[in-house]
């Protein structure tokens, strides 16, 4: 079961994961973007962690809303509003809840993805974070339908996200900065798909 404490632990772990992967994500972004994705997320999640340590959040929804607002006002770029929206939609799913069951976790990620699709207007195969999150949500829904527990649901999601992430390599980018490269965007892994995969993986490592 996932409670407020596990949510906070996840976000704190995300800060560590993005700090560790700052160079790596930035490197991916320099191939087909503007070399800042890792820097952006590191800055954003550092701010979120600081904010959470200063703020008394009354419930799970408040934790995610604080994360959302802080990401929106500290990340900038494309990923700031997109991940900000992800957490905002996720926070709505948690409203009035003190614990998240299997279905809630899947609903939360699905709502987050829908928020990203709504904001960014990307479609599958556009070579964005959507290409990691969409298969992940599908896999998680299947696992949920098959009666799996939290751990297994998340593991299925991570597996699908990882596949989705590597599947972005041969894609021609149609959204975001990478799209300006046209054919030259082919052959590189999308940084946002990579950071989305890391986000789910971090949850899978913590929650069960």
């Amino acid at each position: 079961m996932v409670n407020q404490e596990s949510l906070v632990a996840w976000i704190e772990a995300l800060q560590e994961v993005y700090a560790e992967n700052k160079e790596y994500l930035t490197q991916l972004d320099s191939a087909i973007g503007d070399a800042d994705h890792g820097i952006n997320l590191d800055r954003g999640f550092t701010a979120v962690r600081r904010k959470l340590s200063e703020t008394k959040c009354e419930d799970m929804s408040a934790v995610l809303k604080t994360a959302s607002m802080t990401l929106i006002s500290s990340v900038g770029g494309a990923s700031g509003p997109l991940y900000g929206t992800f957490f905002l939609r996720a926070s709505a799913v948690c409203a009035n809840k003190t614990e998240l069951a299997e279905a809630d976790i899947v609903a939360m990620v699905e709502a987050g993805l829908e928020g990203i699709l709504h904001r960014g207007k990307a479609r599958p195969n556009d070579k964005t974070m959507v290409d990691a999150l969409t298969p992940a949500v599908n896999a998680m829904k299947q696992a949920l339908a098959a009666g799996s527990g939290v751990k297994e649901i998340l593991e299925k999601g991570v597996e699908a996200a990882e596949q989705g992430m590597t599947d972005t390599i041969p894609m021609l980018a149609k959204k975001g900065r990478a799209s300006y490269l046209g054919e030259r965007s082919i052959g590189h892994q999308d940084p946002g798909a990579t950071s989305s995969y890391l986000m789910l993986k971090t949850a899978a490592n913590l929650w069960n």
Partner: protein, 333 residues
């Protein structure tokens, strides 16, 4: 990486502090959230104009705040679009009751952050309109992509819309003028070297001494194509061909030209580029009626240039010639 900075994290703020100190007669700088605002803002009854984007493109946008141009500029981190709270605070600071125009360069990040800001401002009862600049002919346009980038034409749009607002046009009219500028402006850029994002600490791309990137943006992104370095004459011809055939510009057209340095290009070379461009325009019967040659929309320490052509009529030319008084652009005052 060799830069005149202290700590990378403080670069944007310390640079803004320099702008504030140097141009205290023209602008004020607010921190947290960061924005640069015209000294006499809000100007009652005037449409206010705001632009913003990542830092590292100086003088754009902060250098264009002042009478006859922008009311505020929102600088993000280096090459990272600003966040909605910056645009929201800036919009509130400059709103003179006649509405606010956001001039947004077409990058997903800028679009999304400005969109969120506009939602917040509208919720607060401020009339906000946004015009997206997408003038980069290096990018093939399509309904199913992020479209063209916003580059050089942004500078011309800020000047011209600033003049329209200053003469008393209402928001709808300023929006129209801005769309007209965007519809008639085309830009293409090229790079001899990569820039180095301070936080990244090393050049964004590797490039040999005999190659260049054609069709770059302003964020150190690789361009559309990498090719062998050529004489300036051939480079300018190649760029001009794409630009001229895109609008298309025709014999008899009057244009404002901007030959822009990416940050590390000697002015001497920019004038040489202007000379080549001028010959091409003359041969095609296109008259350059006004021009800017210099660093206006840069990409940190990149060597290279961009060429912008804006087809103008009487109205746009009059607005161009109207007085402007900002840190980086000044005439008639």
């Amino acid at each position: 990486m060799k830069k005149l900075i202290n700590k990378t994290e403080n670069l944007v703020k310390e640079s803004l502090a320099g702008v504030a100190a140097a141009h205290a007669d023209l602008v004020k700088v607010h921190y947290d959230p960061n924005f640069v605002v015209r000294i006499d803002a809000p100007v009652r009854g005037k449409v206010a104009i705001i632009s913003g984007g990542g830092s590292g493109h100086e003088p754009m946008h902060g250098g264009f705040v002042g009478r006859g141009m922008l009311d505020a500029a929102c600088p993000g981190d280096v090459f990272t679009s600003p966040t909605p709270d910056q645009m929201e605070a800036a919009t509130k600071a400059v709103d003179g009751g006649a509405g606010v125009l956001h001039i947004v360069k077409n990058y997903t990040g800028d679009i999304l952050n400005f969109e969120m800001a506009a939602e917040l401002c509208q919720a607060a009862g401020i009339e906000v309109a946004a015009v997206v600049i997408d003038d980069d002919v290096a990018v093939k346009d399509s309904l199913y992509t992020a479209g063209r980038r916003g580059v050089g034409t942004t500078v011309l749009a800020e000047k011209i819309c600033g003049a329209a607002a200053e003469r008393g046009d209402n928001l709808a009219k300023v929006v129209d003028v801005c769309r007209k500028v965007n519809a008639n402006g085309r830009t293409m850029g090229m790079a001899l070297t990569s820039c180095t994002v301070p936080a990244a600490g090393r050049p964004t791309f590797e490039i040999s001494d005999t190659e260049m990137e054609i069709g770059i943006g302003i964020h150190g992104e690789p361009g559309r194509e990498r090719m062998a370095l050529k004489p300036a004459k051939e480079i300018v011809e190649m760029m001009a061909n794409v630009i001229l055939s895109d609008l298309p510009f025709k014999s008899g057209d009057q244009v404002i030209v901007m030959v822009n340095g990416m940050g590390a290009t000697p002015l001497m070379e920019l004038y040489l580029v202007y000379n080549e461009l001028n010959k091409i325009c003359q041969a095609k019967g296109i008259t350059i009626v006004r021009q800017l040659v210099g660093n206006y929309i840069t990409s940190l320490d990149m060597a290279g240039c961009s060429i912008t052509l804006l087809k103008v009529d009487e109205e746009l030319l009059t607005l161009w010639d109207a007085p402007v008084h900002t840190p980086a652009l000044r005439w008639g005052v």
